[in-house]
């Protein structure tokens, strides 16, 4: 395989998850007042976990 796709998927979604968490922390009041709770934070954590799992699979397969 020329490129294991789990690497770009893992990297990309880890970064996206991180950005969402960051927005959940820094823009907390705005988000809570619009939605009633901090959805960005939780959704960001879920995406970040998904990204990390993909990276784990990638490194397990590689080693």
């Amino acid at each position: 395989m020329r490129l294991d796709i789990k690497l770009p998927i893992g990297l990309f979604f880890s970064i996206i998850g991180f950005i969402l968490i960051l927005s959940g922390i820094l823009d907390k009041q705005k988000i809570v007042s619009q939605l009633g709770y901090n959805f960005n934070l939780w959704w960001g954590i879920i995406i970040l976990v998904f990204g990390i799992i993909m990276l784990l699979f990638y490194f397990i397969k590689k080693s």
Binding site: P8, I9, I16, L20, S23, G24, L35, W43
Partner: protein
């Protein structure tokens, strides 16, 4: 609406990744099969996700949300009656001929099974259709970004098109498929919050059902007569038109999706490609149909839909339903999340466009250029031509974007095009693959008359008001049925009067002349028929649940 730094950085990282993948794969292109078919080397789970992502253009996503705002849960029939059974069928029964014959494209299969003129007709109509789809896609993207962000229509179309051009140009089909997997995941992560937050706002599924009329929330119970449901269609038109002709016509013959199967590493992987795609496809109504249904309750622009439906039995036709998804995003997504949602839309736009462009450049290069214009050139020449076709395809789609502006509902328009081209084609394939007496002349004239019948039905019977249908959608379903029937019977009749090919010429191309080899030693969970059984059973269950 203004975007924050979070939104921009998500969009920015997305661009970096798709371009990066294309650039990284640049050196893996050695032969024309590498460029056009990924060297037939990709595992099934990747091609399976790409199989549905290539179809998930912005117009599929936006159009399906729009349809759900207009017709309610009936839109889910596109998935649970249409797509899934067709995907199971192509995986179990048709992929062996596509992959096994070593044809490099759907038109090339037609050339092997029938003759040059059948291939030519299909190649040219497919090339035109594909570029039109690409144009629809771009239009969808342009209006979203104009509405949500006030970006210039031309700017967003040109930037997105340029990025697709670059990654397909450098990495060919592999680059397109890899990006489609990322795009697919992004669409899931980007759209799910809309369903979740929307459902929370209206108070859950039970409350939603309570606040909407019966014919907006039931799949089958209002299909007894056309007057009883917003789509204006009864069960026969739904099952035969959408469930059989249009869906099988699309999923079983459209090279855009079949090409993903052809990129698989072996026959079993090719057969599993549509079946693996069918599982996520089954849950997609959650991401598109649900937000569309919530929109009629939440978004002020659609407040008149339900009262009008209750009073007249029809939904209002003056509203622009295409805006349903962008308006929902604007309503529900806060900063950060909006960036994710917009990136999901960008992703759907790009995967749809790249799918069309890779299918176009392959059909153009193998089936038109190599066959009629410059045969017998060195392999390198065709890679070069594929790259030029990529540039040309992107430029023409930009031009076609503006044709689309005249239609009120993108999805109706798409079904119209399919009824012209794909519907008769499915009759040709069914006969060609399973009845060895089908002749080349029968296939060709069947196709021509089927497409002609669809056009006559649309322009001289439907548009002039000779027959009245409950909706534009219903007219398209019946147009497809007519095209299919005309092609089917014309092909049979002409085949009886012309001479079929010798059996020896059709080995590997026709069901009765092909021995299935790889039955041995495949574990149960990798068997196409086993996977098809599971997914069909699950589909039956959801149809009963939402009856």
């Amino acid at each position: 609406m203004a975007l924050s730094i979070f939104d921009y950085s998500i969009i920015g990282f997305y661009f970096v990744f798709v371009l990066g993948i294309g650039y990284y794969l640049k050196n893996s292109i050695k032969t024309s099969e590498d460029f056009f078919l990924s060297g037939r080397s990709i595992p099934a789970w990747i091609t399976g996700l790409a199989f549905i992502a290539a179809n998930l253009g912005a117009l599929e996503v936006m159009g399906m949300v729009a349809n759900s705002t207009k017709y309610g849960i009936l839109t889910a029939h596109f998935y649970w009656l249409g797509a899934i059974p067709a995907m199971a069928f192509v995986g179990v029964f048709m992929m062996p001929f596509y992959y096994g014959s070593k044809a490099r494209s759907v038109p090339e299969y037609l050339k092997l099974r029938f003759d040059e003129k059948t291939r030519g007709f299909n190649a040219i109509s497919f090339a035109v259709l594909t570029l039109l789809m690409s144009g629809i896609n771009m239009y969808a993207m342009g209006i979203i970004f104009k509405l949500l962000l006030g970006w210039s229509f031309h700017f967003s179309v040109l930037v997105s098109a340029a990025i697709v051009l670059l990654y397909v140009f450098y990495g060919g089909l592999t680059s397109s498929i890899y990006n489609e997997v990322i795009q697919f995941l992004l669409i899931v992560f980007g759209l799910f919050p809309l369903s979740y937050l929307g459902l929370r706002k209206v108070g859950g599924w039970d409350k939603l059902v309570e606040r909407l009329p019966d014919n907006f929330v039931h799949l089958w119970s209002t299909l007894g007569s056309a007057a009883k449901n917003p789509m204006g269609i009864e069960w026969f038109g739904m099952i035969f038109g959408l469930g059989f002709v249009l869906s099988f016509g699309y999923w079983c013959t459209d090279f855009l999706v079949i090409q993903r199967g052809l990129a698989s590493k072996d026959l079993n992987a090719a057969r599993r490609t549509p079946l693996i795609g069918a599982f996520p496809k089954m849950i997609f109504p959650l991401f598109v149909v649900l937000p569309g249904m919530i929109a009629v309750l939440v978004i002020p622009e659609f407040k008149s839909v339900i009262p009008t439906l209750l009073k007249t039995g029809h939904v209002p036709t003056t509203i622009n339903y295409n805006m349903a998804l962008p308006l929902m995003m604007k309503h529900f997504m806060p900063t950060g999340l909006l960036g994710l949602g917009l990136t999901a839309l960008l992703a759907s736009f790009m995967s749809g466009m790249a799918g069309n462009v890779t299918a176009f450049n392959t059909v153009w290069t193998f089936d038109i250029y190599q066959s009629y214009i410059k045969p017998d050139m060195p392999d390198k020449h065709y890679i070069w031509m594929g790259k030029m076709a990529t540039v040309f395809g992107v430029l023409v789609s930009i031009g076609l974007t503006y044709i689309v502006m005249y239609f009120n509902n993108l999805m109706d328009y798409m079904q119209l095009l399919f009824s012209f081209f794909n519907a008769p084609l499915f009759a040709t394939f069914l006969l060609g693959m399973f009845w060895k007496k089908t002749t080349s002349d029968g296939a060709f004239w069947g196709l021509v008359s089927g497409t002609g019948a669809a056009a006559i039905h649309y322009f001289f019977i439907f548009k002039t008001g000779v027959i009245h249908y409950g909706s534009e959608m219903s007219a398209n379903f019946y147009g497809a049925i007519i095209a299919w029937l005309v092609c089917f019977f014309t092909t049979i009749i002409i085949s009886y009067f012309t001479k079929p090919k010798e059996d020896s010429e059709m080995v590997g191309l026709v069901y009765s002349l092909t021995t299935s080899e790889n039955k041995k030693n495949i574990p149960l969970y990798l068997k196409p028929s086993f996977l098809a059984g599971i997914v069909l059973f699950a589909t039956l269950i959801v149809n009963i649940i939402f009856w």
